[in-house]
């Protein structure tokens, strides 16, 4: 087991290197440069060239790439062109809102999705089942920015219950914090809630057909008690692992939802950095996102081995 985990961790290094190199090359072949963005729409080509030179942006790729690699080895992601601070610092400042958003969204997805799946399974093929599954599929199908705007129109513009955007830190004002995070978390959470809902429904249906369930119901226990006491625990296993993999969706969705709600997270940081061609920041966020994704996949795989003794990996 330990050897297996170590081997998997070592494998992360070449994967991260490939991701980083591809991102680096892509960023440097696409047109657009920070000097032109900085100078605005009516700047002359001479002004842009002069600023590019002053900022040291005119160095060839062959100089920039090895330097980037050498820095990366020391976990130094360089300095942001616009924010005028180290990329690691810029990312550290933005991790908070994104992690909070992802966490709250995950909570909402589980809180809504798991009961919906259970109820649907217990009412299989009846109207309630159909309605819940339609709801689950709609949540997944509707683009999260559209859902976000619908939520704003309902809860901010019409009812005026919650703010339409902005971010309040938990340490400054806990109530304000949850008020500002509720709509974004709902937009993101509801868009992935369909995943646990459908998964719990189908695995629960499978489990409910198992012999031990039939025995339990034959002993006179009612179906709902059996479902909650015995079946659900077994049905949740695949849901947990799939939610781990869904983290990619969460991070991708966070980029969009943060932009709509103006949350100062990593998503907003990367979107703005792309618009202003702040290469070191884009590169840094790609590396961090890739790292999180790889670690989560690793964690899920390890959990699998741990939770289900039937799963054995070669050499494990």
């Amino acid at each position: 087991m330990i050897a297996y985990v170590l081997r998997r961790i070592l494998l992360l290094v070449p994967i991260a290197l490939v991701v980083g190199t591809v991102a680096f090359l892509l960023l440097h072949v696409i047109p657009g440069d920070p000097a032109a963005v900085m100078l605005g729409p009516e700047a002359t080509p001479e002004q842009v060239a002069a600023l590019r030179e002053r900022m040291g942006l005119d160095e060839p790729l062959a100089v920039q790439y090895p330097r980037w690699l050498a820095r990366l080895a020391r976990l130094d992601l360089g300095t942001s062109i616009f924010l005028d601070k180290p990329v690691t610092e810029a990312i550290r400042e933005r991790v908070g809102p994104t992690v909070q958003l992802a966490l709250y969204a995950l909570l909402i997805a589980v809180a809504v999705g798991v009961p919906a799946g259970v109820v649907a399974a217990l009412h299989q093929d009846r109207l309630l089942d159909r309605a819940l599954m339609l709801f689950a599929i709609s949540g997944t199908a509707i683009a999260d920015f559209f859902l976000a705007i619908l939520l704003i129109l309902l809860f901010s513009v019409t009812l005026r219950w919650l703010p339409s955007g902005g971010y309040v830190e938990f340490s400054v004002d806990p109530v304000g914090h949850f008020q500002s995070m509720l709509l974004p978390a709902m937009a993101l959470g509801l868009s992935i809630a369909g995943l646990p809902a459908r998964l719990v429904r189908s695995t629960l249906l499978e489990v409910l057909r198992e012999d031990y369930i039939r025995t339990a119901t034959a002993k006179g226990l009612d179906l709902e008690a059996v479902a909650f006491r015995h079946a659900l625990r077994n049905a949740l296993l695949p849901a947990v692992t799939v939610l781990g993999y869904a983290l990619g969706d969460l991070l991708g969705g966070a980029v969009v939802v943060e932009t709509v709600f103006g949350l100062p997270g990593m998503g907003q940081l990367v979107v703005n950095s792309i618009a202003r061609r702040d290469f070191p920041v884009i590169q840094g966020v790609v590396m961090v996102f890739a790292g999180i994704y790889l670690l989560c996949n690793l964690l899920v795989d390890v959990l699998y081995v741990y939770l289900d003794p039937r799963v054995r990996y070669a050499g494990g």
């Binding site: 440069d33 963005v37 080509p45 616009f82 924010l83 901010s156 005026r160 955007g165 709600f261 618009a275």
Partner: protein, 499 residues
């Protein structure tokens, strides 16, 4: 303290409150010298001041300057400074600060380079007076040193000593609001500067008395337009930077929103590349000019009620209005265009038009522009990019034949960059000579005449196509009053919020 009753309500201004302004994005920096991006002027217009500014008739009047005297046939200009004007860091503004600021601006900004090119010496006569010795007259001196995008903000020398030509060490000015903090993607916060030295005279345009009623100005980046509008309707913001006129019908009946329809002050512009083998040919450019019907292009871009068709290149500045070249404006002669194109030897190479969907009205206009060109026999390659790519490609003379842009308000023609170095590369000696005269001449009537000649050449030589004037809508909370002029970005120095 004097206070001006609000014209719309007649109510007395209320002191206090934080104004929340939703911006379309994050400014690239807070250095007015550095960028033509209007968002920077919107924020820093409250922090920094220039030697001169504009009154309500868009004539330059002193702001940090007290007066200026021109002598020696226009070759000597003495600027007297107001005394006792503090910077936000407590230092008093003096001649050395003004000289250091003008010198930096003269290295970084095109207009400043023009002024420095004719400047023999720039010296402090005493702590409150600077003297320019010029090789030739510079008639537009106060205009050049007035509020503008890339305007000559006066910074303390002590700050400039620690800065370089791309970066300011600190954001310190003399304006009515001082910089507090900038948390990227969260907000830029300014607060009332209690030590502000109010300029003499009644409020007029950007000039005169500043009420400083608001305690704080908070600028919040909200890139998503739907979020900006929702935020205003829910009372989260008081003012929106720019909003598409598409929202006008829904917003004008919403009691939670006040919408003002502004007179046209910007124009839709198709820039042609005079260094391209295709559009370098005057006959082909004329064919493009003749092919166009401006009405449908403007309708697609701005919608029915939000444009006007006039030939002036300075809409919003009535004193400069001219219909020189009007007979070539919106000619709608596709048959003539087709004939001209056939006789030009145009070989059917694609005309590359650059545009971006980030500015929806320019993209919409580009689509109609393409159709109209194809109808007279052009092959058109419409290339759609993101904003950063577009601004990069524009500088590459081999990459395009035309791109769409919106030319924003300018109170004076010398502030409209039509020089040979501007993208499109319109270089003819006669036009450059006229532009030089515009800069040196100080007599207003003569300058208007010279400008009309430039405009005439513009329509004759077709370096760009002026399609029409755009109206904007100003969207604010009904509780916000007293917003100053908006042509060179809104001024909140006299604005106030109802409780």
């Amino acid at each position: 303290m004097t206070s001006t009753p609000d014209q719309s309500t007649g109510a007395e201004p209320r002191r206090g409150g934080t104004l929340r302004v939703a911006l379309t994005g994050e400014p690239p920096n807070l250095d007015l010298h550095q960028t033509t991006d209007s968002i920077v002027l919107l924020v820093t217009g409250h922090m920094y001041e220039t030697l001169f500014t504009w009154d309500e008739r868009y004539e330059p009047v002193p702001l940090l300057a007290e007066s200026h005297e021109v002598s020696d046939g226009g070759r000597r200009i003495l600027v007297r400074l107001r005394q006792g004007v503090p910077f936000h860091n407590g230092e008093e503004m003096r001649a050395e600060d003004v000289i250091a600021s003008i010198e930096r601006w003269g290295r970084v900004v095109g207009l400043g380079q023009g002024l420095m090119a004719v400047t023999e010496s720039l010296t402090a006569v005493d702590p409150y007076a600077v003297e320019f010795r010029l090789r030739e007259p510079f008639g537009t001196f106060p205009t050049a040193l007035s509020r503008a995008l890339q305007g000559c903000a006066i910074y303390p020398k002590s700050v400039l000593d620690r800065s370089d030509d791309t970066r300011l060490a600190e954001f310190v000015g003399t304006g009515p609001y001082r910089f507090v903090e900038w948390l990227p993607d969260r907000h830029i916060l300014l607060e009332r500067f209690d030590g502000y030295a109010n300029p003499p005279g009644e409020t007029s345009g950007y000039a005169g008395h500043k009420g400083q009623y608001l305690d704080q100005l908070e600028f919040i980046p909200v890139p998503n337009e739907a979020s900006r509008v929702a935020g205003l309707r829910s009372g989260n913001y008081h003012y929106l930077e720019t909003i598409s006129t598409d929202h006008y019908p829904t917003l004008k009946d919403d009691p939670a929103v006040a919408v003002d329809l502004l007179p046209p002050d910007a124009w839709l512009n198709i820039v042609l590349n005079l260094r391209s083998p295709i559009t370098g040919d005057l006959q082909i450019r004329r064919a493009i000019q003749l092919a166009l019907d401006h009405e449908p292009i403007m309708q697609a871009a701005f919608g029915e009620d939000f444009y006007e068709l006039t030939p002036t290149l300075l809409p919003g500045a009535a004193a400069w209005y001219s219909d020189a070249g009007a007979d070539r404006f919106n000619p709608r002669q596709p048959d003539e265009a087709r004939r001209l194109l056939e006789s030009s030897g145009y070989d059917g190479s694609p005309l590359r038009i650059l545009t971006t969907q980030e500015i929806q009205q320019e993209y919409n206009a580009a689509v109609v522009f393409k159709q109209q060109l194809e109808q007279v026999g052009f092959t058109v390659d419409l290339q759609v990019y993101d904003g950063a790519t577009l601004s990069d490609l524009r500088d590459d003379e081999t990459a395009w034949e035309a791109y769409l842009a919106t030319a924003s308000f300018r109170p004076d023609p010398v502030l409209r960059n039509l020089t040979c170095s501007a993208t499109g590369w319109w270089c003819t000696p006669e036009k450059d000579e006229l532009l030089a005269q515009l800069q040196t001449e100080s007599d207003f009537e003569k300058r208007v005449e010279i400008w009309a000649q430039v405009q005439e050449r513009f329509y004759e030589e077709v370096p760009r196509l002026k399609i029409g004037d755009a109206r904007r809508i100003l969207v604010r909370s009904p509780k916000l009053h007293g917003v100053g002029p908006t042509e060179l970005q809104p001024d909140f120095s006299n604005a106030w919020l109802e409780k």
